[in-house]
């Protein structure tokens, strides 16, 4: 299973701004980092096939189901109640509500939840199903530290399919296999983790400090970083 992009140029808005991509996303978890406004969402839409690239070709090999999660969860709401919303994703409402600590709110309209609660619900519904190709645009926004860690644990548990995480998060990451960066309008592959870490320009300060101290973490999840920091 893979997604190959050959000279793809994705445009935003009136076409006065673009991001170029050349590379292949294989099975595993890919982290794409970049500054705010660097084109992460534009690229996510193009990868999901929701917007046509200006040029180049996108080849999907063995991908039978795909999903894109927008940064703002309210756009995904298609249920009139929280329960209906869970059902619209094809997941068991009771399991999701228990996992997200939203029991007792199943009869509420999803838009009556706070954005943090709605994001929690949305991500839990999304990760409750298996997709061959899953794109998450800023999955950690609007979440508190506890929820970020829970989402990271759930994401780290994804062993099948291609998962691409677009984020400018600097604190909490799942275990990832590959690192990419958007820099100067181009998506660039940094390599497999941990080999990619020294090349990672958007690396969090903690990772940079660990590398400077000669302690290369196995991965970038909170547990891996703690292990590297405590290494003697």
């Amino acid at each position: 299973m893979k997604l190959s992009l050959d000279g793809v140029v994705a445009n935003r808005g009136e076409g006065d701004w673009s991001v170029q991509v050349h590379g292949t996303f294989t099975e595993g978890i890919h982290l794409v980092s970049g500054d705010v406004g660097s084109g992460k969402t534009t690229l996510a839409l193009a990868l999901a096939g929701l917007t046509a690239p200006v040029s180049g070709s996108v080849e999907r090999d063995g991908i039978t189901s795909s999903m894109l999660s927008f940064q703002f969860p309210e756009y995904h709401v298609t249920g009139l109640t929280v329960r209906e919303e869970c059902e619209s994703w094809g997941v068991d409402p009771d399991t999701v509500l228990a996992a997200t600590r939203l029991e007792g709110k199943e009869a509420l309209s999803p838009v009556r939840l706070s954005r943090g609660e709605l994001k929690r619900l949305h991500v839990a519904c999304l990760l409750g199903k298996e997709y061959d190709f899953l794109i998450l645009d800023e999955p950690f926004s609007s979440l508190d530290c506890r929820e970020k860690e829970r989402v990271c644990r759930d994401l780290s548990g994804r062993t099948q399919g291609i998962t691409i995480i677009f984020t400018h998060e600097q604190m909490c990451f799942p275990r990832v296999d590959h690192i990419w960066e958007i820099s100067c309008g181009k998506l660039e592959y940094r390599g497999r983790v941990p080999d990619a870490l020294p090349l990672w320009q958007h690396a969090p300060k903690l990772v940079r400090n660990l590398l400077a101290a000669g302690k290369i973490p196995d991965n970038i999840s909170p547990g891996d970083l703690v292990e590297a920091a405590c290494r003697t």
Binding site: L50, M67, Y75, V77, T78, S88, S109, V111
Partner: protein, 217 residues
Amino acid sequence: MQDVRLRTGVAVLLSAIAFLNLTGAAAAGIWCLVFARNLSLRRNARLFLSLAALVGFFAIVLAITGGDGVSYFIRMMVIVLIGAWVYSEQKKGEFLQLGVWLLGDKAGFDLGLVADMGMQAMDLLIADFEKIRLAEKLKQRPLSATGIVPGGIVLVNNALRRADDTAELLAVRGYCNGGLLCPVFKAPRRDVIASLLACCVAVIALIPVSEFFILYR
């Protein structure tokens, strides 16, 4: 057309004559074809077609109940065309300038501010609608009447939330009512000629041709 005063005046005048009769609608339509630059109908094709469908629905109802549905459809579509032209030429802050020029620093400023915020809200509503449509496509939901309701709730909810945020922001910045603004307008010769021709179009549409050509009688 760069001058918002001329653009708004022309739009009001042409909309009025287009609504009055078919001759006026035809004349206004021709004026639009000649002078309305930047008409982004292709870019907003979905919105334009939705409006056409809505107007078409009411035209059919009118025709069934004994009215002139065809005339209504043509006149309303010309008005939609004029609206699309005004919308595509509109720039941020123009209504505020127009309001102050027209009604002064108090009521004019407030009305202009409301109009500008309304235009901004419309842009955001369109962007929201596009995202909701994409999200529904991702969920592979079939198009249904009941499926529209949650999307509508999200649109209204987002609009109200933004309105709340804007109101709080204005209050925090000390806004009570009115404000100081020195409007600056630029009216090139082409805009003035187009406006004068719009006036001519209105006169032709309002006064029967026989009034001009006495021998015709």
